[in-house]
């Protein structure tokens, strides 16, 4: 077994070979060496991103080294970017590290194109001017920007990306795609060939529950104008009918038939109507799906093929997923069922594939563009496709989203408060050129300054009365930490931010849409579409 496969064994199980490949092709940029920033990079270097670059013009001070594992205390005075890069690179010889000992604002001025070639750009806290400039630069180039920082007990992540498509969202408890409401022809035939009554004891108790469900469903539909059991009461009746079918022994005691128990257990989930989920509907109706061009991404070309399948051969349904859950069965009938489902899935996929090839050739972009593997993955995950679009920083700073206003005004305990306070801290810094509470003697003054920034912000958001929700305690709290990074918060945020970066890089799992706020005092967190 390859050395690499051994090293990455435990994570390949989360995102597969293809996810690992995406990771190994990724290049990540970190702007400014903070504890949160280096922790984030650490968690990306260990699983094996391709390369990373650190941009920071500052030199190491004693304070930095005490809080950051990747700044050597013996190298005070040296460039942070260089020292951190060297220590981080030691973590994984497969990863290439680079550094630029120049301030981000200069670099933005001099060679803006430097930033647009990365897979993801991660930045610590920047002045608002620089942050906005960086965000505006990355946005049209579709490079995701991940702002991540820890500020006292507060942790903050903001993801800005115009569009991010997720094929494998790995949903938590996805319903099986069994199609009992629109059964596969061969499945019906197979079920019809089995007569439960005439089976002997062994076969009866090893009939897959899918077949039992289907047979009882047919009877039910005959008695109920073709409807499936819908209400809780109907489902209860239906379950009882199934369990009444359990064989009884000579003394009239029901036998132990696990397959019937399984059938009854699955009544609740097996009849979930096979509909197109709203998120997917939105994708299929997206203008990018309707109007594909030769510059469309593979995702949209595949989505277009999927849409045509649904509209035509699929009769409103998605391609069959083709997998079967485990069930009590003899292997012969289980394998037979499996073959029926797999054959139908392959058949559906072929139709999507034809649409995709047609589209490719009519766009003149060649047939080899979409691989068989990608197509398969796409069809198998069709139910769970996601497209994430966040607001840009420009929009965010122009006016707050409805989600922010709602969250903040409806719940006085919401951690949205800390988003508001963070915005006020940014305003404070822009005005005063320092963070609040840095100097002990100015603490009280800074608290009242902060309060007036919050007031201004609330006014500009059109909710001046909301200032009541901002307690003096919370203002004290944010000032008292004096912009210090608490290492455990930084470590925590480094874990979360790296996880989000991996999601963005691999296109697997759904990233946070907008901002993520962590309150270390209460161990609570909130995601907010800012």
């Amino acid at each position: 077994m390859a050395e690499k496969e051994k090293k990455y064994d435990r994570q390949l199980r989360l995102w597969g070979d293809h996810g690992q490949r995406d990771l190994e092709n990724a290049s990540v940029c970190l702007i400014n060496v903070t504890a949160t920033g280096t922790e984030t990079l650490k968690n990306l270097i260990l699983p094996g991103i391709g390369s990373f670059t650190i941009v920071d013009g500052g030199r190491i001070s004693g304070q930095d080294a005490g809080n950051n594992f990747f700044l050597d205390p013996e190298k005070i005075g040296e460039y942070k970017s260089k020292v951190a890069m060297e220590l981080l690179q030691e973590l994984n010889p497969d990863v290439k590290g680079e550094y630029v000992e120049e301030d981000v604002s200069q670099l933005l001025e001099r060679t803006p194109q430097f930033f647009t070639g990365f897979s993801v750009v991660i930045s610590g806290s920047l002045t608002l001017t620089v942050l906005k400039k960086l965000a505006a630069l990355l946005w049209p180039h579709k490079v995701p920007l991940v702002v991540c920082l820890s500020y006292g007990f507060l942790g903050y992540i903001r993801i800005a990306v115009e569009e991010h498509a997720v094929i494998e969202s790995h949903p938590d408890n996805a319903h099986e795609d069994l199609r009992l409401d629109d059964p596969i022809e061969d499945f019906v035939k197979f079920c019809d060939s089995i007569d439960l009554e005439s089976l002997d004891k062994k076969d009866h108790s090893h009939t897959p529950y899918l077949i039992i469900l289907f047979k009882y469903l047919q009877t039910w539909k005959n008695d109920h104008n073709g409807q499936v059991p819908n209400t809780w009461k109907e489902k209860k009746q239906f379950k009882a009918a199934i369990l009444a079918g359990v064989r009884k022994n000579a003394e009239g005691v029901p036998e132990d038939e696990e397959n019937y128990d399984e059938a009854a257990k699955h009544v609740n989930t097996a009849f979930v109507p096979n509909k197109i989920p709203p998120e997917l509907k939105a994708i299929l109706d997206d203008h990018k799906c309707l109007n594909i061009t030769d510059s469309s991404s593979n995702f949209w070309i595949l989505a277009n093929g999927l849409r045509q399948f649904v509209q035509n051969e699929g009769c409103g349904f998605l391609p069959l997923r083709g997998s079967l859950p485990d069930m009590t069965s003899d292997s012969e009938r289980y394998v037979k069922l499996q073959n029926i489902y797999q054959a139908k899935a392959a058949h559906d996929m072929q139709i999507v594939s034809n649409y995709v090839s047609q589209a490719c050739s009519s766009l003149g972009c060649g047939n080899g563009r979409v691989s068989e593997r990608d197509l398969k993955r796409f069809c198998r995950n069709a139910h769970f496709l996601r497209v994430l679009r966040t607001r840009s920083l420009e929009e965010e700073y122009k006016q707050p989203s409805k989600a922010v206003i709602d969250e903040f005004t409806s719940d006085s305990n919401s951690d949205a408060l800390w988003y508001v306070l963070w915005r006020a801290v940014e305003m404070f810094y822009t005005t005063h050129g320092k963070y609040p509470g840095i100097e002990d003697e100015e603490l009280e003054m800074d608290v009242s300054r902060m309060k007036s920034f919050v007031k201004d912000l609330m006014k500009s958001w059109g909710i001046p009365g909301a200032i009541e929700a901002v307690s003096d305690d919370s203002l004290q709290e944010i000032c008292r930490c004096g912009a210090a990074e608490i290492h455990s918060v930084a470590a925590y945020m480094g874990g979360v931010a790296a996880q989000e970066c991996i999601k963005l890089i691999t296109g697997q799992y759904v990233p946070v849409s907008g901002a993520y706020i962590y309150n270390g005092l209460k161990s609570t967190s909130l995601t907010l579409a800012v």
Binding site: P47, V335, G495
Partner: protein, 617 residues
Amino acid sequence: MANLCMLPEMKKSVSDSKVFVVGAGGIGCELLKNLVLSGFRNIKVIDLDTIDVSNLNRQFLFQKRHVGFSKATVAKESVLCLCPTANITAIHDSIFNPEYNMQYFKQFDLVMNALDNRSARNHVNRMCLAANVPLIESGSAGYLGQVTAIKRGVTECYECRPAPRQKSFPGCTIRNTPSEPIHCIVWAKYLFNQLFGEEDADQDVSPDTADPEANESGDNSKVKHQHAQVDAERKSTREWAKENEYNPSKIFNKLFAHDIRYLLSMDKLWTKRKPPTPVDWSEVESNSQTSVSEKDIQSVLSLEENAMLFSESIQNLKQKLENEDEDGILVWDKDDTPALNFAASAANIRAHIFGIETKSIFDVKSMAGNIIPAIATTNAIVAGLIVMQALCILNKQFDKCKSVFVRKCVNPAKKLLVPCCLDPPKPDCYVCAEKPEITIAVNIETFTVAELKDQFLKKHLGMLAPDVEILDGKGTILISSDEEDSGSFDFDRPLADFNIINGSRLRADDFLQNYDIIINLTHETKFENEEIFKVLEQTGVAQQQKSADVSATQDNTTVNNTNNDDDDDICILEENVASPEKKRKLQQSPNHDDHNSKAKRRKVSESQNDSSVLIID
């Protein structure tokens, strides 16, 4: 609310504190770094493990050149490189070692677990309860994580909730009638142990002639006779392989032709099943010289390729075995390539024979090793949360501690973290309750002393070296953990031989864990599947913290019988299928006899690194 980190007195309580980190793996590495950078100065870290290549994707204090070295020692050195002022003691040892007794634990202000297996977690839980030291328990599995604080008499202990049930398979399914890939994989792991590892009578791989299904209307005496014969044969499996110098083709023919033909002769098994198809070595022998072990581990191999891999890996393992001492053995390890290749190829050949889907080596590894996926990010998150809790505890704000769950994705309430209040101790916990009692049903005529000791006391109750006394008024010792004494007992004799009857009471005591429990025995002859005992009931009196802040309802001798069906849904892992046994009313009142603890020399079993245990429950 004062900021935890900023207060000078807080800084002092952190730097003066003495903490114990148990485990220097994924979470342990992160934790050590966090502790040192948060101002902790006196840290002891213990881990028995050495560094493996598959650790390097997340255990960032280790590098490739450290593979094979002690985790604890390397972790300490790596941290000291960057934080030379910390005072870290690294211990390369098992936490089960009796040296780490209650007195040892008492020196710490706080213990933090960063473990990967349930038995060690149980043990540390008991040691911390005994020493009355707060414990922070943690775990991660893939994207999921959990951190929780435990304090005697205040919160639930680690064992207050029943352990998730392990999935096990009936022996005859494994040996005679596999129907799923996992059955073949389990069989292949057993085969590894039979041929190269520690032989275990419960891990037989040969046809099981006592299969009730094969003898539905059969003649019992004949069956018993056959069984005895096979038993005799089984004992020589290893010897047989040795005599044949581990000749791959001979082993192949025995397992996949001879044994399968034998199974076919048990014709009742195949009236309703597809019968297996024996395969002879001559059919699959290939002349190809290219090695298959270089193949992509993600691809599914053909029968011929599997046969070749089988042969190759046997030769490798034989070589390894020869490098061992006279009676050395190999230990199954999913990360050991020849061992994995052996199990994968054997499982796949067997699957082929039974018409079961075959798997890639990668998938076999997952299934055989019960591998829990692990990444750096979750461990970083969990370790960050541990320190936040640690600061609360040292700041004497235990009331602020939470049980925090880390989810895979944002929940409908837009949270990634789910903090929950800590629950009070469960009154019927058989570990942290005062005067715990447990009632079990066994067949007193057949349940042996060895089964009581190994299956119930050690495996189920998690004791290390139990002493058992029969509460017959005479103080009869049934099991003594003393090496010398134990020789005089016949462990294979059933309980009935010791005048134990329905309703007898026993007291089991583990000296090291400072833990004892009364066991009530009920006679029962009917058991499901392969069970040999059933837990009927657990009772006890919830521990009260003996500090002043708990308004005392002392002398609470009422046995709490309330139904404690676990109805909160904070468990994020679905694997937790444990359902507490239905409670029955207990007749006896707990009478706690005076008990003289005797100092004894203890023999402690080696740390069982039980990788088949779920991390989080």
